[in-house]
């Protein structure tokens, strides 16, 4: 399960042991983070992903030292820092609002951390110059934050944190304020910078696309708990809970009862010639209720019944066709429960595969059905 870039055989960069955070809100105790155990490897790009209010920012602020846990222990590099104040922790943070010092120039912002550590002037100049080159800010040294674009301010915030060579860099929705184009560009850039400096990144976001493209591992959080922890591929292909399946990308969820099991494949039947094949563990038996997740791009849509024997097959009526440029999305009403969504890549077909009202057949391989919560 460990898929991090574990270069250092010693301690993990960050470790949370039974960390808990309660808030008192209007006389009621709210559990922001519930008994969380988490270990983030050295050099890993780790994302905390979840909707607002899931506790991801609180978790990050406990690592940075801005919140004190109600219970549990925070380790940085194996050292217990639970009661250590933020200015004495060897981690740095990139704030959602960037939090640049408005009265200082870009260079002075970047130099601030090193000045606090009493690094000598020449060394500060060298390291600040180096990091500003890495984030492509050379020539901007004398600009005030208000004279810079959002993307440039973002880079200053990044450089200001990275120049201290922290044990870990914490990023709190750093791209939230940028427009889509710039955001995508910065995603690639962040990943490049992380590879270049080799520092552990902990990235807080509610944007699943962002988390999937950049992370080595993702923790999907809901209501103060980690629902699933794994690589982007694991989380996308094999969502552990209904919540994860719905939160990451689009998912088709099918409910059914196991009609027969042959080898490690269970068959859910929905009528004449309609079935869903699901790979299952030995524990699953006939009569068990299953919830199955199928990603929309895995499903083939055709006007004719598919011929392959080992496929899941459902039939239904197209209710909606939406053209998205790179793909066309079909919504199909079937007898298997809620309407299914199918993404068809527009790689070959210049025309829609079917129109609203058409009867169609949906098929996919067994390995694309994934049983949830088993």
């Amino acid at each position: 399960m460990t898929t991090g870039v574990d270069q250092d055989p010693g301690h993990p960069a960050i470790e949370l042991a039974g960390v808990h955070k309660d808030y008192l809100s209007h006389g009621e105790t709210v559990q922001a983070v519930r008994r969380m155990d988490l270990s983030i490897a050295q050099g890993e790009f780790f994302s905390l992903l979840g909707p607002s209010g899931c506790g991801k920012t609180t978790t990050m602020r406990m690592i940075a030292g801005f919140e004190e846990p109600t219970g549990g222990t925070v380790f940085l590099d194996g050292r217990d820092v639970t009661r250590v104040s933020p200015n004495k922790r060897d981690v740095n943070m990139v704030f959602q609002s960037y939090a640049l010092f408005p009265h200082l120039t870009a260079y002075q912002n970047v130099a601030f951390g090193l000045e606090r550590k009493k690094v000598d002037k020449a060394e500060i100049r060298r390291r600040a110059g180096e990091i500003m080159e890495i984030v492509s800010l050379t020539g901007m040294e004398k600009r005030a934050p208000r004279e810079m674009s959002g993307g440039q301010q973002q880079r200053v915030a990044l450089a200001r944190a990275l120049v201290n060579r922290p044990r870990a860099l914490l990023l709190d929705e750093p791209l939230g304020a940028l427009d889509l184009k710039l955001r995508q560009q910065m995603q690639v850039e962040l990943k490049r910078i992380q590879r270049e400096v080799g520092i552990t990144f902990v990235y807080v976001t509610h944007d699943q696309g962002e988390a999937l493209t950049m992370s080595d591992r993702i923790a999907v959080m809901e209501a103060g708990r980690i629902d699933q922890l794994g690589t982007p591929r694991e989380i996308y292909e094999r969502p552990a809970t209904r919540f994860v399946a719905g939160f990451i990308g689009t998912s088709n969820l099918l409910d059914g009862t196991v009609e027969s099991v042959s080898g490690d494949v269970a068959v859910l039947s929905y009528g004449e010639g309609e079935r869903v094949l699901v790979p299952v563990s030995a524990a699953t038996g006939v009569g068990d209720a299953l919830e199955v997740s199928v990603r929309p791009e895995k499903i083939d849509l055709a006007q004719d019944a598919p011929t392959g024997a080992g496929l899941s097959v459902l039939s239904g009526v197209v209710t909606e066709v939406v053209y998205h440029g790179t793909s066309t999305n079909y919504t199909v009403k079937t007898s298997a429960g809620p309407d299914l969504v199918i993404f068809d890549q527009n790689a070959y077909s210049a025309e829609d595969l079917a129109g609203p009202g058409d009867r169609v057949y949906l098929s996919w391989s067994p390995q694309h059905s994934y049983p949830i919560g088993v």
Binding site: A64, N87, S97, L100, F112
Partner: protein, 280 residues
């Protein structure tokens, strides 16, 4: 930042259309009436500083002269009163500035036991009648056996200006992004360094406004000074005494200079704090 820019651009686009409306002309006239209303007394004061009046009466225009500017410090008593007023005002601005900034920062940044009470006391001080304040200060000083003079005036002035400084600073602190201070802590700054290197420079314009306000309140205060001055004479107290025998034009000249000083500081402050346009 971008939002501000957008608003500015919208304003530029909308401006010519609005002036074509009939309301535009009325607004124009109204604006000039208000400006006239506000500046006319000041203009009269400045004008009569150039009045070539023969005696101590300076109520009718006798012709233009610059001689009062040459003889501005010719009246020793008046000069002395002005110096006392300036010293008291500067001391008030500095002390009320320091104390008020502390209170304003605490009220803007933290919620603590008694913060509501402090707020209440501040607004009570600002709204309480000066006569009441002056009379009770006099009672206080006399019953404590404190000799009245420049010191008691200064103490009194600090007392009623602190609230103004605190209110101005508090308003600024409330709009201050908390994460800026967190960022400083995150980068290794302790509370002291964070305040002096980050917070204070950012709230500096508000502190300056508060101090200017304290200075202005102090230099022309009459009521409270009258109660707490004893035999000491401040600029406003001297003028009040002099009106019975006629006001010398030097008073207008000094008034003009104080006014110009205030305008100068206001202009410099507004230029320095004007946000520059971000680079495209």
């Amino acid at each position: 930042m971008t939002q501000v820019l957008e608003e500015e651009e919208t304003a530029v686009v909308a401006a010519p259309r609005r002036s074509r409306l009939t309301g535009g002309r009325a607004l124009h006239i109204y604006t000039w009436i208000v400006i006239g209303w506000l500046t006319l007394p000041v203009l009269v004061m400045i004008l009569f500083g150039f009045n070539d009046t023969p005696g101590r009466y300076n109520q009718t225009w006798e012709g233009f002269t610059l001689k009062w500017y040459g003889q501005v410090f010719a009246l020793d008593e008046l000069t002395k009163a002005l110096v006392i007023s300036l010293l008291v005002a500067v001391a008030t601005a500095v002390v009320a500035g320091a104390l008020g900034t502390g209170i304003g920062y605490a009220l803007g940044r933290y919620r603590f036991r008694g913060s509501g009470t402090v707020n209440l006391i501040m607004f009570a001080t600002m709204s309480s009648p000066e006569l009441v304040m002056g009379a009770s200060l006099l009672t206080l000083f006399v019953s404590l056996g404190v000799g009245l003079g420049a010191v008691t005036i200064t103490i009194a002035h600090i007392m009623f200006s602190i609230s103004f400084v605190a209110v101005v600073v508090r308003a600024r602190v409330l709009t201050l992004d908390r994460s800026v201070e967190e960022a400083a802590a995150d980068l290794g700054a302790n509370a002291w360094t964070t305040f002096w290197r980050i917070t204070f420079p950012i709230i500096m314009p508000a502190v300056m406004s508060g101090m200017l306000l304290a200075f202005a309140l102090s230099i022309d205060d009459f009521v409270v000074s009258n109660f707490t001055a004893g035999t000491t004479t401040t600029f406003p107290l001297w003028i009040w005494g002099a009106t019975r025998v006629g006001l010398p034009p030097q008073v207008n000249v000094m008034g003009t200079l104080i006014f110009l000083g205030g305008v100068l500081i206001a202009v410099v402050t507004s230029i320095r704090s004007r946000p520059r346009r971000p680079a495209a």
